[in-house]
């Protein structure tokens, strides 16, 4: 991968991060359960999800959090450092079911988005604040958040 490293000087307030598309399907939720250790049946038993008032199985909040972290870390590059991150699971997302062993049925695609809201120097760190979020297929932000990253500076 080793793409060109972005520097603090390359970025302005308002700079948008390249959107990261994601498809949450049953397969991804099963892999996430195993990979993260979160075996809450809310994410694989439809009837249990209905009993919890969410209309069926739902996408793990922490999976969406991991998408957003990928959005930011991909963009900031290997030399960047994420100092702070937060996100809130405001909206419910339901996964696509499977069409084949590997392919999901047609349906919703999520977009992880972000933009720079503040640019400043804190001590010897060149910082950026970001507004981030997961957008559902209808254009609503189900998982808004913020992050603070430190980027390398050409001045150093």
């Amino acid at each position: 991968m080793a793409k060109e490293q972005i520097c603090w000087e390359d970025v302005e307030v308002g700079t948008e991060l390249p959107p990261l598309p994601k498809i949450a399907d049953s397969l991804m939720l099963v892999k996430w359960a195993g990979g993260s250790g979160d075996f809450n049946p809310h994410h694989y038993e439809d009837a249990f999800g209905k009993s919890q008032g969410t209309g069926g199985t739902i996408v793990h909040g922490l999976l969406k959090h991991a998408w957003l972290i990928q959005l930011v870390t991909n963009w900031m590059g290997d030399e960047g450092f994420m100092k702070k991150f937060s996100c809130q699971y405001r909206g419910i997302d339901h996964p696509r079911l499977m069409k084949t062993m590997n392919e999901p049925q047609d349906g919703e695609t999520w977009l992880c988005k972000g933009k720079v809201t503040n640019k400043y120097v804190d001590g010897d760190e060149h910082c950026l604040d970001l507004e981030i979020g997961v957008e559902n297929g209808e254009g609503g932000i189900t998982t808004p958040g913020t992050a603070t990253v430190v980027l390398p500076s050409r001045a150093k």
Binding site: S36, G37, D38, A66, F85, C87
Partner: protein, 156 residues
């Protein structure tokens, strides 16, 4: 009132538990997210990076069967919520402060505690918001990150 009973849990701590950050678990976590950054699996690539070896994506602290849902402090709190009719429990969000990268083969000690319990009036009635804070120390005794999670209890 349930809130009074719940606030007695504030400050309760779990016995610290050890999390070994194995390479294979980093790889499975990143794969579940669909995150193909070679820093998380390619030894040769990662050894030439500033980290000198494979690291974990921010937010991954080693695989453990001990998740927020199996924490003793949280099970006690959830019992009170469920008995009081707040049986719809959802993950509300997470925030982090990151201090150091987590490297493959690190051994972390996680210490979760109940930080706060508050009530909030929402569209669908009263919500109880429980905040849990977990600190992660590495094998050198250095604080690598602090995570704050919010669990929301709703009446079904």
């Amino acid at each position: 009132m349930v809130l009074e009973e719940l606030t007695q849990h504030i400050g309760k701590v779990d016995p610290p538990h050890v999390r070994e950050v194995e390479k294979g678990s980093i790889r499975r976590y990143a794969d579940a997210v669909g995150n193909d950054n070679p820093l998380y699996y390619d030894e040769e690539y990662a050894s030439k990076s500033r980290y000198g070896g494979i690291i974990a994506p921010p937010g991954f602290f080693g695989w453990s069967a001990k998740t927020i849902a199996s924490s003793e402090a949280i099970i006690g709190l959830m019992g009170v919520l469920i008995n009081a009719g707040y049986a719809g429990i959802l993950d509300g969000g997470i925030s982090y402060e990151f201090y150091l990268p987590v490297h493959a083969d690190d051994t972390l000690v996680a210490s979760p505690k109940v930080k706060d319990v508050t009530a909030k009036e929402g569209k669908s009635g009263t919500m109880i918001i429980c905040q849990f804070e977990t600190s992660y120390l590495n094998q050198n005794g250095d604080l690598v990150a602090k995570a704050t999670q919010h669990l929301i209890g709703r009446q079904l």
